[in-house]
């Protein structure tokens, strides 16, 4: 009798344990732990610093990607920082640089003396679009500024070429001739300073 009673208690305890395990499992089914931080920026206003009336006529755009990198020699290992910069060189004429008498119309003829084709804006890198490529070690803002200048120089060298300036001038002639034809002039004479 006593044996049966003990046996029943053991069976009851085991059953209780199994039920408790399954209950605990169902309770912890969706449990998780996560260590991290929010990666979104805080909302801040965009402020207008200046508004300017411009008259830049672009005839050729040269979009460039430049990989700029720097290496710092160390005692045990070298540090390296590589970034990909994006920029667009815009070639054309600045209409605010035309001189009095730059356009002379006579009947169905028109003559235009346009400023020299050049780079319209020396700020052409979209640095906020820069893609990080590789970083080892710790780098300061001055190092990133130096990389920016390196990419700037490199883009000028690759984009502001004689060929591109000539292509911009050719396209300027075509586009302005087409515009003058639309305005009703048959003979169009274009020259650059």
């Amino acid at each position: 009798m006593m044996k049966n009673f003990k046996f029943a208690i053991i069976i009851f305890c085991i059953s209780l344990l199994i039920v408790a395990i399954f209950w605990l499992r169902s309770c912890t089914k969706n449990d998780y732990l996560e260590l991290g931080a929010d990666n979104t920026i805080d909302p801040t206003p965009t402020q207008i610093q200046s508004i300017k009336a411009i008259g830049e006529w672009e005839f050729l755009s040269v979009s460039l990607e430049e990989l700029a990198d720097t290496i710092r020699k160390g005692f045990l290992s070298d540090d390296e920082l590589s970034r990909i910069y994006y920029g667009t060189l815009r070639l054309g004429i600045n209409m605010h640089q035309v001189e009095p008498g730059w356009l002379e119309a006579d009947g169905d003829s028109v003559s235009l003396m346009l400023p020299k084709i050049g780079l319209l804006d020396r700020d052409f890198i979209d640095e906020a679009r820069t893609k990080p490529f590789f970083e080892s070690g710790s780098w300061k803002p001055e190092d990133r500024e130096a990389l920016y200048r390196q990419a700037h120089e490199s883009m000028l060298e690759h984009g502001l070429t004689k060929e591109n300036l000539a292509a911009a001038e050719t396209n300027a002639r075509e586009q302005i001739t087409s515009l003058m034809h639309a305005m009703g002039y048959r003979k169009v004479n274009i020259s650059f300073k």
């Binding site: 344990l17 449990d31 610093q49 920016y148």
Partner: protein, 230 residues
């Protein structure tokens, strides 16, 4: 009795093993919040190229805008235990960064498709109907000298990848704010300042010249007129 106890112990062990196995299967199936893939996405290095395009764009308005991108990087322990959610800020886990960005926005009018259809003449009066103005972010510059960051002892410095991600979010926020800056209206007004002197040089009096646009643009139109390179 011993046999019974042995069987009972074996049953408990098997139950525990099955339970553990269930948890392992559950974790590897990736159903939970810790979903991870062994074969994650890999950034590809774009080819370093230059693209040359012919165009005829008259830029008439330039806006210089400034934005300070801030990020409060608080390390948090989030989770759920026994179906109770919690979100605890960890001590010594703060990082803060402020990145000033200067950007240049320019509005332009595309003259590449300009033709006789854009011109209306009535007697001595001429009306130029210009194509829709469009806006581009032509450049942006991080003011590296004034980047400020605070990093708690328990945290690592902001990496280049993290800072670039915040800068790209700041750039997107600037682009998002363009319709509210009034640049389209300025571009329309300034177009006349470039074209009227040209037309007066052709012999028209100022009173005889009208520079018109297709329509008045609302916020939705303006979003369609943003030309952003990504």
């Amino acid at each position: 009795m011993k046999k019974v106890l042995g069987f009972a112990a074996a049953a408990v062990i098997i139950a525990l093993l099955l339970l553990c196995n269930g948890h392992i299967v559950q974790e590897s199936s990736g159903d939970g919040p810790h979903e991870e893939s062994v074969y994650g996405s890999v950034d590809s290095l774009p080819m370093l190229i230059s693209q040359v395009r012919k165009c005829s764009k008259l830029y008439t308005a330039e806006y210089r805008v400034h934005k300070i991108v801030t990020h409060d990087d608080v390390l948090r322990l989030k989770g759920s235990v026994l179906q109770r959610q919690f979100n605890i800020k960890l001590p010594l886990g703060d990082r803060k960064i402020a990145i000033p960005i200067d950007a240049k926005l320019k509005a332009w009018i595309d003259f590449s498709q300009f033709s006789e259809r854009n011109i209306e003449r009535r007697g001595n009066h001429i009306t130029i109907i210009l194509p829709d103005p469009q806006v581009t972010m032509t450049s942006s510059k991080i003011d590296q000298k004034h980047v400020r960051q605070y990093v708690a002892l328990a945290r690592a410095n902001f990496s280049d990848a993290e800072m670039s991600a915040y800068q790209q979010q700041g750039r997107a926020a600037i682009i998002e704010s363009i319709p509210s800056l009034g640049i389209f209206e300025t571009a329309q007004a300034n177009a006349a300042k470039v074209l009227v002197p040209m037309l007066t040089a052709m012999g028209y009096e100022e009173q005889q010249i009208t520079i018109a646009f297709r329509k008045h643009y609302d916020a939705n139109d303006m979003r369609g007129l943003l030309k952003i390179e990504d």
